[in-house]
Symmetry: C2
């Protein structure tokens, strides 16, 4: 067997583990790994100009492909830059394999400028962390990390690769490691929940994760049609399949009162890949838990279970397999006219979202009302931020467009959010990704202005207002696009938006539209 | 005594601790704190559109003012976004007080979207971390955190503030807590080192940290003048005072061979606020430690000591107090002409740096040769990245300009580095900061292209080259400046650079010059 270095053996193991893409921002400690990626072909390499782009792209790639990507990150600070989108990915149950370069093992004691506690940085946002210190074990560690990333509907695995382990020689190449299979839900649980649904009114199926896609969603629709129970989804979802031909699912409202109102008559809540409905934040006189006091909660399946099979079993148990579920039908309402506002934007999306679109939604305050008017849009997927750390949408759009290059990706982003990962535009341009970016430019962290009032500061002065305002100076998004090699447009009226959007959707490549609010 | 909430009592304690600035990017969990900043005046608030701007600005502010700033950060992901510049600040011994909002204590168990292990995220880049869970203790915790930030030449203190601790009532306001004083170096150490300097040739004083400023630097100059020992500085320095009227200090070269050559005859190395000279990275056939094998190493003072006093004691012990140290004299050489390259740029800086300039240097590959030709420039301070995580210069320039608003700040930044914290430009524009940004646009992570060859990949293909290239598309820095509200220029010849630079230096506010390489 030919002798390889540690990096080369790692890449062989990654290829055996069906890893085919690497998002990265490498530095010196990753040079052996990068050289190996160059020598052993089969893993596509995509550069991000900040690590939040790298990790966010891996999140988006997983949400659409179901496959972990590798990220290539530069020691503790490089990993740190990617943490906030790893936070979002972790909350979305996306599988990612981070490979972080480290100083040579013998060099660590000198505390060089880039030295840091990589394991410590990784741990809060990883399910699994390991520093690989033996060149004959490194390919196995990589295969193990890939399997961990695939388990439990997707996990974050972080493998730390010291430079000397990268450059030393080995003859060992590990085969792929099988991930632990998802657990099947026990028959007794299925039967008990079926009984509850059969017996009671005011039953809600709360769907989350993969329950909102494909057959699982159809099964839930059949169950609802047969038994009269309601279907809701969590307030934010990693990816929900909706629009024409899909079962329509109402989302739990974001605000405490709205969520309480939606759940007020619910006496039996069945969690299916979803978590207990709770408030996004606690407020002095509002509850954390949003279900009524007398509501009984059952768990059909968590992300550790085979959710689709659990829903199939439940459907069969309830005799709903031959029921035809109710699905949305695309309905072209009249085009909105005049001012751009939440209502007209919702109408616009309902009418104009192209068939098979991937919508990445980080329109924090502007977009709260977009869900209802797009229920009868053309068939599409809708992605939310699950960790709510700003700057998720643009990088996630990159990953989506790379995973499914023939589908149109539409990123809906507030100006404040977009600024957290604005460098994404460059990667979109470089990779010629099929993305239309809508920047909702309200020139503020608008959601926080409401929060400020709700904490009792009814007459804030400039001290506080300046910390929530994006004006003076106003960000110029057409120039921002141009700076990154992307074509940009600015619109102030909804008719112009419709026209430009349709133009953009019919072009390949990336375009940005600043929607001036 | 009037009743305050936890945030208000915290701010009173911060004011008592002489904290006067807050760089922040707050979210919902920080709204009570922001409201309190609005109600109790005295702390200036500066918004950054990404947390790396916030923490980097606090680093720059400390380097020029010697005072810790507060950063205001949003839970675990917000802190995570600021980590890489906290890494740089920690390595620079800059004092910073991070205040991180957290969910209400009773809400944590529900694992809301923004929940995360804040302490875990903070620990790798902090000297001190505490979650304050008692409203009657929170102002004391804040005062303690402020004192910790001031100790040992500056430390990173992270105080985590749960929302309910922010909003509950208290009557307790803590007075300031005295920081532990710096340790005075014992007389026996001074005497022993004086004896070595007196007795031997080939002695090097290796200066770092505050030893490179003010009286400390002058004392070192007198010692050198009297005894014939050499003065060197570490390869990177938090802030070095140089140019006209200052003792010239040669910097240890970055590359292993250059550093070894510089130190090759050194038999006695005296560390004064500096660490042992080591390689930036380990390479297969090069040493980690850069001093000759027979070199004896002594430590006069670390950052935990009163460095200036140690140098004064040493000077007196050597009878050098009445010696006049040799200092640089501003010499205006002829202006460079023609192409922009490392040599002509160095000449340009030597001639054109304005008096009293603050130079923030992150010109990673372009700027390696700038030090020598600026030795006889007008009087200025020169700041390096101490942690070498990219994206330090633009935020640090913000902090410098706020700490010393009447001095011209010149940021020297590679295009790759600048993209890690490009949002800084907006804060510069908003605060009308006196900063001239020079972007050295070589359209590559150029330093890494050399590294790739040094790991043995002599003929890389596009797979590797694309990961180190910033071309296709080319970043347009004039548009980038405009997007952020900053005036931008592009120059391709050195004459144009001289002209535009002089124009910019004579204006208030922020300008950006793209130097096309």
């Amino acid at each position: 067997m030919a002798t390889l270095n540690g990096s080369q053996s790692t890449i062989k193991a990654l290829l055996a583990s069906d890893i085919s893409i690497c998002f990265g921002n490498p530095g010196t400690s990753e040079m052996h790994f990068l050289a190996a990626l160059d020598q052993i072909k089969g893993i596509r390499c995509v550069l991000g100009l900040h690590e939040s782009i790298v990790t966010g792209a891996a999140d988006g790639y997983y949400r659409l492909s179901g496959k972990p990507a590798v990220t290539l990150l530069h020691l503790a600070p490089g990993l740190a830059n990617g943490l906030s989108n790893l936070h979002n990915a972790k909350k979305a149950n996306s599988g990612i394999l981070n490979i972080v370069g480290e100083h040579a093992t013998y060099h660590l004691k000198y505390d060089a400028p880039l030295s840091g506690d990589i394991e410590g940085v990784a741990r809060p946002m990883s399910h699994w962390v390991k520093t690989s210190t033996d060149v004959d074990r490194v390919s196995h560690d990589a295969a193990l990390a890939a399997s961990i990333a695939k388990e439990k509907s997707g996990q974050i695995a972080t493998l730390i690769l010291p430079a000397d382990v990268s450059w030393l020689s080995t003859e060992v190449i590990s085969p792929a490691v099988d991930p632990m299979p998802l657990k099947r839900v026990e028959a007794s649980v299925i039967q008990s929940i079926a009984k509850t649904i059969h017996q009671y009114k005011n039953v809600v199926l709360l769907l989350g994760g993969v329950a909102l896609r494909g057959k699982a969603l159809a099964y839930a629709g059949k169950i609802a049609e047969k038994t009269g129970c309601r279907i809701l989804s969590e307030g934010q979802n990693a990816r929900i399949e909706r629009g024409h031909g899909r079962v329509a699912v109402q989302r739990l409202p974001f605000d405490v009162k709205g969520a309480q109102e939606t759940l007020k008559d619910t006496q039996h809540l069945i969690l299916i890949g979803a978590k207990l409905p709770i408030a996004f934040f606690a407020y002095p006189n509002l509850p954390s838990l949003l279900i009524p006091q007398n509501c009984e909660v059952f768990t059909l399946a968590t992300h550790e279970n085979f959710v689709e099979l659990a829903l199939e079993d439940l459907m069969v148990e309830l005799g709903a397999q031959n029921i035809v579920e109710k699905t949305s039908v695309f309905t072209l309402n009249s085009m909105p006219t005049g001012d751009v506002n939440t209502d007209s934007l919702g109408q616009f999306l309902g009418a104009c979202l192209p068939d098979n679109a991937i919508v990445v939604d980080e329109a924090v305050s502007t977009g709260r009302g977009f869900f209802k008017p797009t229920e009868q849009a053309r068939q599409h997927d809708w992605l939310n931020s699950m960790g709510s750390s700003l700057g998720y949408a643009l990088p996630v759009a990159i990953g989506c467009a790379i995973a499914q290059p023939d589908r149109p990706v539409v990123a809906l982003v507030g100006d404040g959010s977009a600024m957290f990962s604005v460098q994404s535009l460059w990667t979109m341009a470089r990779e010629n990704l099929n993305v239309t970016v809508l920047i909702f430019a309200n020139k503020a962290y608008k959601i926080l202005k409401n929060e400020l009032v709700s904490v009792g500061l009814t007459s804030p002065t400039q001290t506080a207002l300046n910390m929530l305002s994006l004006s003076s100076p106003t960000l110029d998004w057409v120039s921002m696009a141009k700076a990154h090699g992307v074509e940009g447009f600015r619109v102030g009226k909804i008719e112009a938006l419709v026209k430009i959007f349709n133009h953009c959707i019919n072009q390949r490549g990336t375009q940005l539209i600043e929607v001036d609010l």
